[in-house]
């Protein structure tokens, strides 16, 4: 994902803003990291350049 995606996305649960923490970057592309909701503190991983904004209750039955 590109950093400017942060302007669009929000927490799928309460629609509040997300904070971005980057672990790995390649050019302008964020390859891995974590998104954290500024309201409910739920975290969402960024894996292989794709943010995983599935709510936590869907992550278990849907392994990557």
């Amino acid at each position: 994902m590109k950093e400017d995606l942060m302007e669009i996305i929000c927490c799928p649960l309460d629609k509040h803003d997300l904070d971005l923490e980057v672990t790995e970057r390649d050019d302008g592309e964020i390859l891995s990291g974590q998104l954290t909701c500024t309201e409910c503190s739920e975290t969402f991983p960024i894996e292989d350049g794709i943010p995983n904004l599935l709510p936590p209750d869907m992550r278990d039955e849907a392994p990557a």
Partner: protein, 234 residues
């Protein structure tokens, strides 16, 4: 959601397009892409969301035409296919893929100009909730397709491994009403269902398709069509 696990297997994602859209399936791919382009029109600089984008067949096509597009799907492996396709096509600077739940979209209200989903509602267990969520994040247009009840699809639907949810006209009206959407245009096609085209070689498929379009243009043909494309606005 039907097929939730099936669509997330790596091997399924890798073979998905070859399996679904080779042979007679090529005609399906072409018709679906045309349906999307007809409904969404010129997309340059439009903000578009595709729900259940899978391997990005439409996502990448619209990005090539200048849309700022986001593709959302439940399946990581399917999205990786889309991401690689976007990079190979050189459109990856205005396309984004993400995993997400169509019933809880990670976007604010009224964000996109257009929100669409193809081949999605036949898998949906709670279509009203999904359509309402698509409407929530769209400020103008919502576009989707359905497989129809009382069509040739009904005949073989029971034999499919996942089955499909089929919709009557009455159910569509009720869904649109419930989501606060108005119908702009409806198109009905495919007197002969998709499964038939996927089974036959391309040379034959073209002839059957001509017959299909000719008969499908008649009032009775329209009634029996197996697929409908619904172009709606807020």
């Amino acid at each position: 959601m039907k097929g939730q696990e099936w669509y997330q297997a790596d091997t399924v994602a890798e073979e998905y397009e070859a399996k679904r859209f080779s042979r007679g399936g090529r005609l399906i791919d072409r018709r679906e892409k045309q349906a999307v382009l007809d409904a969404i029109g010129p997309v340059a600089d439009k903000d578009v969301l595709e729900v259940a984008c899978g391997t990005g067949r439409f996502t990448v096509m619209l990005a090539e035409r200048g849309a700022n597009i986001t593709g959302l799907d439940i399946s990581g492996p399917m999205l990786q296919q889309g991401r690689e396709k976007a990079q190979a096509t050189g459109v990856d600077d205005h396309v984004e893929f993400m995993r997400g739940d169509a019933a809880r979209l990670p976007f604010p209200d009224d964000h996109f100009d257009t929100v669409f989903a193809m081949r999605f509602f036949h898998l949906a267990d709670t279509p009203a909730a999904f359509l309402a969520e698509m409407r929530r994040v769209s400020k103008e247009q919502v576009f989707f397709d359905t497989f129809n009840r009382f069509s040739t699809r009904s005949i073989y639907n029971w034999a499919l491994p996942m089955g499909s949810r089929l919709y009557s006209r009455w159910e569509i009206d009720r869904l649109l009403d419930g989501a606060g959407l108005e119908l702009t245009e409806a198109n009905h096609d495919w007197l002969l269902p998709y499964g038939f085209y996927r089974k036959i070689p391309n040379e034959l498929a073209a002839s059957f398709r001509s017959l299909d379009t000719a008969l499908g243009g008649t009032p009775l043909g329209e009634k029996l069509a197996s697929v409908s494309y619904w172009n709606t606005h807020v």
